[in-house]
Amino acid sequence: MPHHAPPTMPGQPDPHRHDTLLYLDGVSVAFDGFQALNNLSMVVARTEMRAVIGPNGAGKTTMMDVITGKTRPDSGTLRFGETIDLTRHDEADIAGFGIGRKFQKPTVFESHTVEDNLALALKGRRGPFAALFHVTGDDERQRIDDLLSLIRLAHLRAAPAGGLSHGQKQWLEIGMLLAQDPQLLLIDEPAAGMTDAETAATAELLRDIARTHSVVVVEHDMAFVRALDVKVTVLHEGSVLAEGSLDHVSANRKVIDVYLGR
């Protein structure tokens, strides 16, 4: 069985194709009777970037919670790669398989320095004893330096992360995600709290990342989604309302009703 199928354009996704990285089928989650995800199905290919939009409460964050093991689905299939059943694993396992996420509210380790935040995220052994005897090597230092300049925080490397601005924390968290070097990045509202210039730079960074990784981005900022220029999935009340290019979904009657009507 070939492990590296040639990258193809994500047309009509088929779960049994080798370029499928993430496969959700009929996933449902209820909180106290409230259906947060309702028979949600979605397929993300290798090195595909997907934008997910939808009104508040549509279930976007819950979808990421389900993929990363934070929330167990009540029903449905969740597969990563060709074999891994994500419903049978917890957060640490799933991170180990190569799924990283950025939270909607930027979450960094406030009392650690910017540099240590990245160091903790760096791909490597995760056990307590490996950590106890860990010695930072030159390659790790080099990787941290590269990431620091990529996220434009090199001048703040020794500053506690708690003192960063909102936008800087977003970038640091993206940097931590890259340090993990996951196959799939789930990024929840990266542009929130950023200036227009920062937003544009973030879009560019994500497009760059998507050349070698699969990325799922949740965002409300339409200018940002347009800048990403990728296939868009519209969520509403826990299921997919429409899928396609941004122009295509924007012309969709149901989407317009959801965003304007209500």
Binding site: A95, L120, G163, Q168
Partner: protein, 383 residues
């Protein structure tokens, strides 16, 4: 590699602390044993023993700081580990009494003869050997902590709920050790000790030796804590404290980290208890009292959690004050402790040592008339 492991995290403050501790470990015994009783610098034996007791409390505080200050696990049951270590040592000391007990039984401690027991219970076997007893002072608290932590951390019990079940744990042990049929002397506990390693427990030299041993144990535990907290593991612990789920999503199995540090901490507390008992001469179920664990939390809070040195100082200061109060104004002690705790929580939330850098910065910046708090502000907008 090992040298680097143990020393690379040592700051100047840590070295100063160790130097002071080493000086005390040598000077206190010297001033007690080396000078005649009438000499103005002579240190009376009761003071040596009292200071030795403070050192064991300091070790308990250090153990608590490791889990609370660095990993955010607020244990309200650490005195249980301390008491278990104390009982292990007490059992050794009990068996050293031999036939010199009131009933003169060559094997059975007095309380067992009194209960009409015919033979030593199996769990008392081996405790006549000091190395076994010392090992048990570490292993028993460590094992209890491991089992407790295994279930609690895997079930993701945290925050207040964890604090409450640690308190329940120490309370359950309190009730259990009160029972005569447990075989630990019930209400009265273990006491009337005679010798440790063949040395008379009443002699000045033994007291001085126990003080020095306590100082040594505290110093070694301190170095171990520095090594742990300055390693990558220590950084993961702080990460867990600050953003536990973030740490999980980075792929760290948080429960394993908690279990490691929780078990190490319990063993340190057990060692503290083992050093405490020969100095105070008794161990009874009262050491499991929930209030004891809470007092230890107060020492750490006052000294400054997450600073290692702070809790050691906090334990020393609070217990020094306690000794003074209980002699002069015993009925006021709990009020004074409560007031101190509230004052520190309100005005020095990081404790004495944790607040020092800020107080120092304020003092120096006031002198140089610099605007206050212009420190870690990030330069405006990166781009």
């Amino acid at each position: 590699m090992t040298r680097r492991f143990f020393t690379h995290g040592m700051t100047r403050g840590s070295w100063v602390f160790l130097a002071l501790l080493a000086a005390a470990g040598v000077l206190v015994p010297a001033l007690n044993l080396g000078l005649p009783a009438g000499h103005p610098l002579h240190m009376p034996t009761y003071a040596v023993t009292l200071s030795g007791k403070y050192l064991t409390y300091a070790l308990l505080a250090l153990a608590l700081d490791l889990v609370w200050g660095y990993c955010g696990i607020l244990s309200l049951g650490h005195a249980a580990f301390f008491a278990l270590g104390g009982y292990a040592m007490g059992m050794y000391l009990m068996r050293q009494i031999g036939p010199r007990g009131v009933y003169g039984d060559p094997l059975l401690p007095d309380f067992m003869v009194f209960l009409d027991w015919q033979e030593l219970p199996w769990y008392w076997l081996g405790f006549d050997a000091f190395p076994v007893a010392l090992a048990m002072a570490l292993v028993v608290p460590g094992l209890l902590a491991f089992v407790f932590g295994w279930f609690a951390f895997r079930a993701r019990v945290g925050g207040v709920y964890l604090s409450i079940i640690t308190q329940a744990m120490t309370y359950a042990l309190l009730l259990a050790f009160f029972r005569n049929d447990m075989g630990f002397g019930g209400n009265n506990g273990l006491t009337d000790f005679k010798e440790i390693l063949g040395f008379d427990l009443q002699s000045d030299a033994t007291r001085a030796g126990l003080f020095a041993a306590s100082a040594l144990a505290l110093g070694l535990a301190f170095v171990l804590c520095v090594a742990i907290t300055s390693s990558r593991l220590g950084k993961v612990l702080v990460a867990v404290r600050d953003a536990e789920s973030r740490t999980r999503f980075l792929g760290y199995r948080v429960e394993h980290y908690k279990l490691f540090v929780w078990t190490v901490s319990a063993m340190m507390a057990g060692l503290a208890g083992a050093l405490y008992v020969p100095q105070v001469g008794i161990i009874n179920p009262g050491e499991f009292a929930p209030a004891n664990s809470i007092e230890a939390v107060i020492w750490v809070a006052i000294g400054g959690r997450g600073t290692l040195v702070g809790p050691v100082l906090g334990a020393g200061l609070v217990n020094f004050a306690k000794s003074w109060f209980t002699a002069a104004l015993p009925e006021l002690w709990l009020f004074a402790l409560g007031a101190l705790f509230i004052a520190v929580t309100l005005f020095l939330p990081k404790g004495l040592v944790g607040s020092l850098p800020r107080l120092w910065a304020n003092a120096t910046s006031a002198r140089s008339k610099a605007p206050p708090d212009a420190r870690t502000k990030a330069p405006a907008a990166a781009e």
